[in-house]
Symmetry: C2
Subunit: 219 residues, 2 copies
DNA sequence: ATATTTCTTGAGCGATCGCTCAAAAATAAG
DNA sequence: CTTATTTTTGAGCGATCGCTCAAGAAATAT
C-alpha cells in the first residue's frame, strides 16, 4: 500500500463490472444480513399491511434493534418503499410482467397471468395474495401517500395491460371491435379479486377454476 | 294514571306491532340522534377501515364525546359490529341478496348483481367499494377477530351464490356439467375485484364494461 | 321543592405508536 | 498502542391509542 491514497482509485474494483469485492470496511461490521432483514420485513408487511405492522414487530422479526433499522433503512416508510421494490422484483411480484414479456400472443400472456396468479396467490410459502393489492387498504390520513403509492402502481399495471391489448388489436389478434381498455379493466378486476379470494382461504384449485372461467370472456 | 303500575303493561304499546310510541323516558334525553351517529361512523369505517379509524375520529364525526359513544355503543368493536349490521341492511349493502331474492332466473340475478355493483361501488354519495370487502384488510393480531368476522361474511356470501347456482342447475337453467362452486367463486372474485377497482378510481362506466365482460363466462 | 334517573362532559389513565440519541462495542488505519 | 469510523444497544421521548370515571346537567317522578 504505497500508492497515492486516491479514494476513487481505492474504491474502484480491478474489473469495472466485476461483482463488488468484499473489501473490508472501516468501522464495526453490520451484525445482520440486510437482504434477510428486508425479506423478513416484506413477509410482515405482506401479511398485515403497512400500518398494522409496528416497528416493534419489524425489529423483532428482523432480529435487530430500532437504531439499526433506522440506520439501515431510514424510517418505516422508506423501509416499506424498499419492501415494495423488493417484492416487485421478486418472482412472486413480477410474474405478470414476465408473462407479458415472454409470451408472443396476448391471449397466451393473459391466460398465463391468470393461471400463475391462481398458483402463486394461495401458495403457503408466503402470505396469501398480492402485497401491492392488499398492504395499504386501510390507512390513516397521515399515511395517505403510502396508499396512493400502491394505488398508482396498480393503475399503472392496468395501463400496461391496456397497451398490450391495444397492440394485439392492431396486430389483428383481437377483432377491431374489441375494447382494450375494458378488457384491461376486466382482467385487473379478476386478478385483484383473486388476491382477495386467496386471502380469504381460496385454494389453488379454486382459483384455477376461476381463471378458466375468466378466460371465457376473451373475444 | 290510576292503574296498577305494572311495568310490562306500561311498556306495552297499544297495538302489538305498532311503531314504538315516543313515551317519555326517565332521565336526561340523549343529545344526539343514534341513527345519524351510526351513519357517520359507517362512512368513516367504510372509507378508512376499522383500525385506521380512531375513536377520536369517530367522536368528532358523530358530534359526541367518548363517554357518550361508550354508553351508547359499548366499545369500538361493538360499534363496528353494529356498523356492519347497519351497512348490511342498507340498500348499498343488501343489493346482492335482493337481486337473488327478486330475480326468477339465476342468470338474471347474477347479471343484475354485477350491473348494480358497477353502479353502486363508485357512487360518489358514499365511500367507494364495499365495506365488508375492504374495511378490515389490514389489522393487528389483536383485532384478528374483526378481520375474521368480515372474512366469514364474505365466504358466507360465496356459499349463497353457490346454493343459488346449484339450484339453477337442478332446475335445468344451467347445464349438468356446469360447476356451481366454480361459478360462485368466479362471480365473488369479480365482485371483490370491482370493489377494489372502484376504490382505485374506476368509474361506473368502467365497471359496467367489466360486468358485461364478466357475464360472458356464463355457461 | 326534592329525589331519582339518564346522559354529557372533560380530564386523564396505562399502553403503544414511530422514532432518537448518547454510550458502548467492534472493526480498520495510523 | 491510539485514533477514527461504523454499528449496536437500550433507555426513553412526545404523541396518540382505546377507554374510564367522577362531576355536572337535564329530564321525570314524588
Amino acid at each position: 500500500m504505497t500508492e497515492t491514497p486516491d479514494p476513487a482509485q481505492a474504491a474502484a474494483p480491478a474489473s469495472p463490472h466485476a461483482p463488488a469485492p468484499p473489501r473490508p470496511r472501516r468501522g464495526r461490521p453490520p451484525g445482520f444480513d440486510r437482504d434477510e432483514a428486508l425479506t423478513a420485513a416484506t413477509l410482515l408487511f405482506w401479511e398485515r399491511g403497512y400500518e398494522a405492522t409496528s416497528v416493534t414487530d419489524l425489529t423483532t422479526a428482523m432480529g435487530i434493534r430500532p437504531g439499526s433499522l433506522y440506520a439501515a433503512f431510514g424510517d418505516k416508510r422508506a423501509l416499506f418503499e424498499e419492501v415494495v421494490r423488493h417484492y416487485g422484483s421478486s418472482p412472486v411480484g413480477a410474474f405478470a410482467g414476465r408473462a407479458l414479456a415472454e409470451e408472443t400472443s396476448a391471449h397466451a400472456a393473459f391466460a398465463r397471468i391468470l393461471r400463475e396468479a391462481a398458483a402463486i396467490y394461495p401458495d403457503p410459502s408466503h402470505p396469501a395474495g398480492c402485497l401491492v393489492i392488499s398492504a395499504a387498504t386501510n390507512v390513516t390520513p397521515q399515511d395517505a401517500e403510502v396508499q396512493a403509492r400502491l394505488r398508482d402502481e396498480r393503475n399503472r399495471n392496468v395501463q400496461v395491460f391496456e397497451d398490450r391489448l391495444r397492440a394485439a388489436r392492431e396486430d389483428g389478434e383481437l377483432p377491431p371491435e374489441a375494447d382494450p381498455k375494458a378488457l384491461a379493466g376486466y382482467f385487473a378486476t379478476v386478478i385483484q379479486g383473486m388476491s382477495q379470494q386467496a386471502r380469504d382461504g381460496a385454494t389453488a384449485a379454486d382459483l384455477a377454476r376461476t381463471a378458466e372461467l375468466a378466460l371465457r370472456a376473451w373475444p
